[in-house]
Symmetry: C2
Subunit: 221 residues, 2 copies
DNA sequence: AGCGCGATGTAATCAACGCTTACATAATGG
DNA sequence: CCATTATGTAAGCGTTGATTACATCGCGCT
């Protein structure tokens, strides 16, 4: 709106590529910008609409459909990006964890998992819920997610190998561990922790306590 | 559309009350019918819209707003009804459980919880997510939910009193237990169990295993 | 009785949304 | 240099939640 009175194209043949100063007819990388806008939109708690993303990109309401066949495809791309960020952070946390003890690594994993979910609730919701776009519409997302599961499986397998666990029913322990961590994260962002939830530190403390309780429960006495 | 050629009101002054044959101008109990329609809509996997609920009640699109100030209020009423049904079933399951052992009761609770969530995924989603209407817009719902939490707390307190638990940090055990059960239920309906999820019996078996693992983890050796 | 008024429905309308189509313009490469 | 393709705009469709003005019922009061 503001720029409606500006010279329509600034310079007829700007040749200005990287500058991006006056939004040439062809947007730099609209696809990326739309994904970022949608991510930001979600992070603000607003519901993501294609139109609003287009609005933030200062582009007509129909433009996004040049890059995404439909809203679901946008959301799938958004989910992919969120999942990528999630994975990066998890792996960073594990890189800092001691490599020796498998259960200590599991603990670090769980804490990083919960922490990211707490700090990026809307993005976590998009990633984990599968209710924001047609299920299985992104192979990359399911692959990334499977990789994360495989990661925890490896940690617990290692724990068994190290003789740390009471039970050797790996599958059962794996599912329980996933359910515990996922459940804790979701309880948080589904509002199941009344309003002592304001203190992030307190929640992390709870997460530690819960994970430690679980670990001590499955550990050999 | 089809009835556009019918006689406008069938009989000018029907005086037909209970018959409902020709849908009198005043619907019997539109509020209840709308809630039921919305519940059914959700159960069918469709997304709940006020218009569609009105359509199923054979009523004009504006009529629901005589009973609910907005869509959120309808959804809140729907959630209340779903929560009521949930609670009834949980309590029925606990009525059948042995009163003696507190942990056995906890186990029965968890299984009933997961089972209901599996069989009523959309309703469970509406109840538990708090993302389908303004948070805290129904006092009854939060009260019912709090009562359920208090129920599990009582069971675990009793377990402590019976000297069954290793840890006496009740709060921690309570949160872990809730996270485990909630997480398992949500993983299910969020599609985290690929497609061996088709077998309901298998999932229940997994639920048993996971809950038993947890209980044995917190039990005194 | 009857009638008046509140309760409850309808009809028409609005803005926002997802999505499609026809068209305009920029970028690119033969 | 120009034609082809990529990418944006403009306009419009059908659906949704929500509001407003109006129609109709039915209960309670005198």
């Amino acid at each position: 709106m503001l720029e409606s009175a500006m010279s329509p194209r600034q310079i007829s043949k700007p040749r200005a590529r990287q500058t991006r100063e006056a939004r040439p007819y062809h947007h730099g990388d609209l696809r990326r910008v739309l994904i970022d806008a949608a991510l930001q939109l979600a992070a603000e708690g607003a519901e993501v609409s294609v139109r609003e993303a287009a609005r933030r990109a200062a582009v007509s309401p129909g433009a996004p459909f040049r890059h995404f066949p439909n809203r679901d495809a946008l959301m799938a791309a958004v989910a992919e990006e969120a999942q990528r960020r999630f994975r990066v952070e998890i792996e960073a946390a594990l890189a800092d964890a001691p490599a020796a003890n498998a259960l200590a690594r599991f603990r670090a994993f769980g804490l990083a998992y919960v922490r990211w979910a707490m700090r990026n609730p809307a993005h976590f919701e998009i990633i984990s819920t599968g209710r924001y776009f047609a299920h299985g519409s992104s192979a990359e997302l399911t692959r990334d997610n499977a990789e994360l599961i495989a990661l925890t499986e490896r940690m617990l397998t290692e724990a068994v190998a190290q003789g740390l666990l009471r039970s050797t029913d790996l599958k059962r322990v794996l599912i329980a561990g996933r359910a515990l961590i996922y459940g804790f994260a979701r309880m948080n962002l589904d509002g199941h922790f009344p309003r002592w939830g304001v203190e992030e530190a307190e929640i992390e403390e709870m997460a530690e306590g819960v994970i430690d309780l679980f670990i001590s429960g499955i550990s050999k006495p």
